[in-house]
């Protein structure tokens, strides 16, 4: 008997941006395999063009879509609602910034440039799909696609011990958490008989009302898997090691696109699928958020390696973002989205600076390597200053507004103690963020002429442009947050 397809061409067109990325990835692979392969510059260009095109298609399809909330695609596997659109665009933007900062590092693995970009693009496609996924299967497979790419990218410097170690750790722990997540999905499926998020949204309250314990158990295990992905404590053990070991652009990708896409999924699952049983999971999320903020910030306090410090900061920021989910309100969600956007630019900017200053596998990552940066490279130092101010949450940066709104949501929802933890830990965070500032501005450079030996020549235009862009966006979000807020407010999930 023939199988009637339920999928139209329309649906295929709708995932055009992701398809474009996948196709570009394939092209890169093919081109890389032919003859001597692609030059780094050319590969970068291809990746950039693919991202640009993808963005253009995404925007075009969004604007042509009109105001009405779009219907689910692929038989309910995918929905391109405003929420998905926001995160997809954010993922594209952060990956674009990652591409801008990549070219410098790629000199070390010139022969793998095309694979590198191909994997990056496919990971992006995975991230874009998972934020739009409407059933757990699609969500999980997209997540796995992104994760697998990340494992490889983290270890792509196969001849470098640190990169390899990062890959091992990330892979082992990632696979373990993935198994836990999967086990949770299987339990959820068993308890509710559905993998569709809308179905879960209806089934969960019913299951709980009937006294089901498998359903919440499955939900918890799913949450644990996602907490791992967003690097929330105490599922964060991989973060410092992997962030330090991975090539810096990939670290930026992990801290940016990967983390944020996972967060988007977490938001969709918790607020939409489990939205009806929020009282069940709110204490868990509160605990995780508080633990992340405390652990991340305290862990960063004694770090001297900037990359590692930023890794711990990334843990802390997972906690801040979780406040938005914890509040389970519109305010909380849009605050988290706003903060995620600001955070993406701040953290990728900061990692870009790290990428620019590091030398080889080990050198140039310590705080003391930033000594005198304010004089040596005023632009770089000033940009870093902006990022650090933003990460601390001081105006006039986007980070400030994000934190304010998140704490506001927590206060409004009655989670004042979490907000307290948040404000106090962000005050603590000042201490380590500004240690870098101290080195940049208050400590004279080690070398009398201000040039540090081996510090990588003239920086490429791309990375400088990326840093500048990040700084400008960070500031712009701090001075005129209105448009972004208006946008995210229209991109909210339908909360239950």
């Amino acid at each position: 008997m023939p199988i009637a397809p339920t999928i139209s061409l329309h649906d295929i067109v709708q995932i055009g941006p992701e398809l474009l990325l996948a196709v570009a990835g394939l092209l890169l692979l093919v081109a890389g395999a032919i003859g001597k392969g692609l030059e780094v510059r050319d590969a970068t260009k291809v990746a950039g063009i693919a991202l640009g095109l993808s963005t253009a298609v995404l925007l075009a399809s969004r604007w042509s879509g009109g105001e009405a909330e779009p219907a689910p695609l692929f038989g309910g596997s995918l929905v391109l609602d405003g929420y998905a659109f926001f995160w997809q665009l954010l993922a594209l933007a952060s990956v674009a910034l990652v591409v801008l900062m990549s070219s410098r590092d790629l000199d070390r693995i010139a022969s793998r440039a095309s694979e590198y970009y191909a994997l990056l693009l496919i990971a992006t496609a995975g991230a874009m799909l998972m934020v739009a996924a409407l059933d757990l299967l699609t969500l999980w497979i997209a997540l796995e696609t992104m994760a697998l790419s990340s494992y490889i990218l983290a270890g792509i410097f196969t001849h470098e011990r640190r990169s390899n170690e990062a890959a091992i750790k990330y892979f082992v722990l990632g696979a373990l958490s993935s198994a836990i997540l999967l086990y949770g999905i299987s339990l959820l499926y068993g308890a509710t008989g559905t993998l569709m998020l809308p179905g879960l949204a209806q089934a969960m309250p019913a299951a709980l009302a009937k006294g089901s314990r498998i359903a919440p158990l499955g939900g918890l295990l799913v949450a644990a898997g996602l907490f791992f992905k967003i690097a929330a404590a105490p599922f964060h053990y991989w973060v410092p090691d992997v962030y330090v070991g991975a090539p810096t652009p990939i670290t930026a990708f992990l801290a940016g696109a990967s983390k944020l896409a996972s967060f988007a999924v977490l938001g969709r699952v918790f607020l939409y699928a489990f939205g009806g049983v929020r009282v069940e999971w709110q204490p868990v999320v509160a605990g995780i958020a508080a633990a992340s903020m405390i652990w991340g910030n305290l862990g960063a306090l004694t770090q001297t390696n900037v990359k590692r410090l930023l890794a711990y900061s990334s843990i802390a920021h997972a906690g801040y973002l979780l406040i938005g989910i914890l509040a389970a309100s519109e305010t909380g969600l849009w605050a988290a989205m706003f903060y995620a956007a600001a955070y993406a630019f701040m953290t990728i900017g900061a990692f870009s600076v790290v990428a620019l200053l590091e030398r080889g596998e080990y050198a140039g990552q310590s705080c003391s390597d930033y000594a005198g940066l304010g004089r040596r490279r005023p632009f770089l130092a000033a940009s870093m200053l902006v990022f650090l101010i933003g990460l601390t949450g001081i105006p006039p940066t986007g980070g400030f507004f994000g934190k304010v709104f998140l704490f506001a949501a927590a206060v409004q929802a009655g989670w004042t103690w979490v907000a307290m933890v948040g404000v106090l830990t962000s005050a603590v965070s000042l201490y380590f963020y500004f240690r870098i500032v101290v080195y940049m501005y208050f400590t004279p450079a080690a070398e009398p002429d201000g040039r540090v030996a081996g510090e990588g020549g003239a920086p490429s235009f791309g990375i400088m442009a990326g840093i500048g862009l990040c700084a400008v966006v960070t500031l712009a979000l701090g001075i005129f947050p209105g448009p972004l807020i208006a946008w995210v407010e229209q991109s909210l999930l339908a909360l239950r």
Partner: protein, 181 residues
Amino acid sequence: MSFLAGFLQENGAALLFYLFAGLALAGAVGVVTFRSPMNGALSLLVTFLAVAALFLLRHAGFVGIVQIFVYGGGIMVLFLFVIMLVNLNRLEASERVWRQTPWALLLSLLFAGVVGVVARANWGQASAGSAERLRTLGGEVVGNPQALAGDLFRNYLLPFEIASLFLLVAMVGAVVLGRRE
């Protein structure tokens, strides 16, 4: 004798389940206890095959076959290949993290135990199983593979496509990571 035959007839499925479950567990225990990776890989194969049989017992014929092909065939070959590639002679015995062993044991048991205890209360609350519907497509009984294909390509086409992307990544990854500079 007839008691035995009757018993077998009545409880054959159960006996088979216990047989394969035992095999699966034994294989699993072998994986985590054998010092030699080669022995571990062979025990893993036992588990794979036993699990495939357990699938069949639950009317998941297609999945069972896939399990045998992919796990028993592909993945196992991959493992063995790598084990040989990295030169078995030079490959150290797979030692344990001894200091962690009791804790790991405790944790694993507790994990399974607690989840089991928590879930226990719900066991059997769901409706009865039905093998029929696992063979039905559009109201017609067509057989498990066809029914599964119907479901897969109608409702889960997108994940299927993404899976292809996933496999591409896996392939590229294996190449990139395995390739000598």
